[in-house]
């Protein structure tokens, strides 16, 4: 669509601007302010320069949390994206089962995050939880409170349970927008099931899949509540992801300066990711293929 140049449009954007300025810019300024100061309590601050940043960037603790978080994001993406595509492909395209499937699948997305944590905390306990009890009964020694691997498996399965539906719904939205003629043509051309997926479904899902991957990547990068409720970051620091570490630092140890510096670095990483996301998204938008069918 050809847009007209009109600077008065700023008036329309003004309310959003003021609101976001209040809820984002001012807090962010506070963070910047803290990040360059140190205090000995009692609201006595003095200039500390870039030392906090240096400290965070060189701290092993930050590196570990960052690596842990990257590993976590990689694992859940590797599971959720293929699983989401598979479920979306197998879903019925029309009929009474469609709304039923959609509603049931969306359910985990609307559960408060700490309740998600609670559900899994309970479900995975070996004494009162169905999952934990069953795994234990199978003779597998399983304890997510003490064993690092078990804790990771629990947190990953929980995230898969919580968020795979987002991938499913996005892919499904892409799939139903493919006109029937494409599938018919593929049958006529003798395309295999794999070729239909590779040359018709995947290209048509490309855009929404991109949204899914990037949303999941960023959200998993910010994950806090769910693992915090289940494992509290433990055993040891084994499930202490960036956000959990940050809150520990700021509220647990009240090390405001270092926490602020870490916040900014954390935020910059996310900003970089957002920029990549945005660039890729807008480019994909410009190149939207024209299709004659019933889109």
């Amino acid at each position: 669509m050809e847009k007209t140049w009109n600077n008065k449009a700023w008036f329309f954007v003004l309310p959003v601007l003021l609101l976001v300025a209040f809820s984002a810019v001012i807090p962010l300024m506070t963070v910047v302010n803290y990040s360059v100061q140190d205090s000995f309590g009692n609201n006595q601050f003095f200039w500390y320069g870039a030392d906090w940043f240096r400290e965070v960037l060189t701290s092993e603790r930050f590196h570990d949390a960052l690596l842990r978080n990257l590993l976590f994001s990689a694992i859940i993406l590797a599971i959720e994206v293929p699983l989401g595509i598979l479920v979306a492909l197998a879903m019925p395209k029309k009929g009474i089962w469609v709304p039923v499937c959609l509603v049931l699948m969306a359910l985990p997305l609307l559960i408060p995050w700490n309740v998600v944590g609670t559900i899994w905390q309970v479900f995975a306990r070996t004494d009162i939880g169905l999952l934990g009890y069953t795994v234990d009964a199978l003779g597998i020694d399983y304890n997510y409170v003490r064993n690092v691997l078990d804790a990771w498996v629990t947190v990953v399965v929980m995230d898969v349970w919580h968020w795979t539906s987002l991938v499913v719904l996005l892919c499904y939205a892409g799939l139903v927008s493919i006109p029937d003629a494409y599938y018919q043509a593929a049958k006529i051309d003798g395309a295999s099931r794999w070729a239909v997926f590779r040359y018709i479904q995947l290209p048509k899902m490309g855009r929404v899949l991109l949204i899914a991957v990037l949303l999941r990547f960023m959200d998993s990068f910010m994950i806090y509540t769910e693992p915090f409720v289940v494992t509290g970051g433990g055993p040891g620091n084994s499930t202490t992801f960036l956000s959990i570490d940050l809150v520990k630092l700021a509220i647990g140890q009240f090390n405001i300066g270092e926490a602020a510096a870490m916040s900014l670095i954390y935020f910059l990483i996310i900003l970089l990711l957002s920029w990549i996301f945005y660039t890729v998204m807008t480019n994909a938008g410009n190149d939207k293929p024209m299709t004659g069918g019933a889109e």
């Binding site: 959003v16 976001v20 795979t164 806090y224 940050l246």
Partner: protein
């Protein structure tokens, strides 16, 4: 005309013949059972099992929960729900959550509407940067903002009020609402605006009488997402409230520290937080797939 054509073949076999023929042929083609249907079915079972377990527990007594593992309540009890519905410090948690979620929904959609219109219709100085900057707020980790929010709202005396949480959640909901609405608005041809102006509509009249109904489903989807993200968020909501506006999800953690663990009440409280979400999904079920694609399929 059609009965003229019917007369052409007076000896056609009856429709019943076709019914059985269709059934027989579709069986021959597809077989009796669709294995493919197993995948979504199993997936849904995987999703529902933990939820079932929570609901199952909420109807049990603590003795039964801690005693032997039972697949359904042996002595079903409503005691856990009774505790919640008779104690204001419990049920006010739900009221608080609903109040700030609704406030946030109204504020977010109200300010996002004009902004989304501007982005979808006009080019203006710095528009692309502004749009990107808004998006970055959606990506901001709440953990980064928790502490500064606390200090900011303390300074304004807003701590422990519903509006504080509602405003804090605007941080990620307003950008999202702008984004979704912009997607839906760009789907409405610009000619509609121009025709309305030629017909002598003023801008407000056009916007509310003509334009808003056209993007009604988009507004619904945007409101749904504001509801969703405000409802599920805990970190900021907990940080900014003490008692008067404390959300239910934060109150739930109370059972942990009390004398021993009251698993039954915890389960009941958790089960109750699922209901509002389920109701809201049911209303938007026809737009949900498109909505999750942010109106951009």
């Amino acid at each position: 005309m059609s009965d003229q054509a019917t007369t052409a073949h007076p000896s056609l076999p009856g429709a019943a013949h076709s019914e059985s023929a269709i059934a027989a042929r579709s069986r021959m083609k597809t077989g009796h059972f669709k294995w493919k249907a197993l995948i979504p079915a199993l997936y849904i079972v995987f999703l529902l099992l933990p939820i079932y377990w929570l609901v199952n527990m909420s109807f049990k007594t603590n003795q039964e929960i801690l005693g032997t593992l039972t697949l359904w309540p042996q002595n079903p009890t409503l005691r856990n729900y009774e505790v919640i519905f008779t104690d204001p410090s419990w049920y006010m948690g739900y009221v608080n959550s609903i109040i700030y979620v609704l406030m946030n929904m109204v504020i977010s959609v109200a300010v996002a509407l004009p902004a989304a219109y501007a982005f979808s219709r006009y080019r203006f100085l710095g528009d692309k940067h502004l749009f990107f900057w808004l998006l970055t707020n959606r990506m901001a980790p709440p953990a980064v903002f928790a502490l500064p929010f606390f200090q900011l709202y303390s300074a304004f005396g807003l701590i422990d009020t519903h509006i504080a949480v509602a405003l804090a959640h605007c941080l990620f909901n307003v950008p999202l609402a702008v984004w979704i609405l912009e997607g839906f608005m760009s789907g409405v041809p610009k000619e509609i605006d121009e025709t309305a102006y030629i017909d002598g509509y003023s801008f407000p009249k056009f916007f509310f009488k003509i334009f808003t109904p056209l993007i009604a489903s988009g507004i619904g989807v945007a409101a749904f997402f504001c509801f969703m993200f405000s409802w599920v968020e805990l970190l900021l909501a907990r940080t900014l409230t003490v008692t008067d506006a404390k959300p239910i999800s934060a109150i739930m953690t109370r059972t942990v520290s009390a004398s021993g663990m009251d698993w039954g009440v915890l389960a009941a409280a958790g089960a109750l937080t699922i209901i509002p979400g389920a109701i809201v999904i049911w209303f938007v079920r026809n737009y949900i797939a498109k909505g999750f694609a942010l109106g951009r399929v």
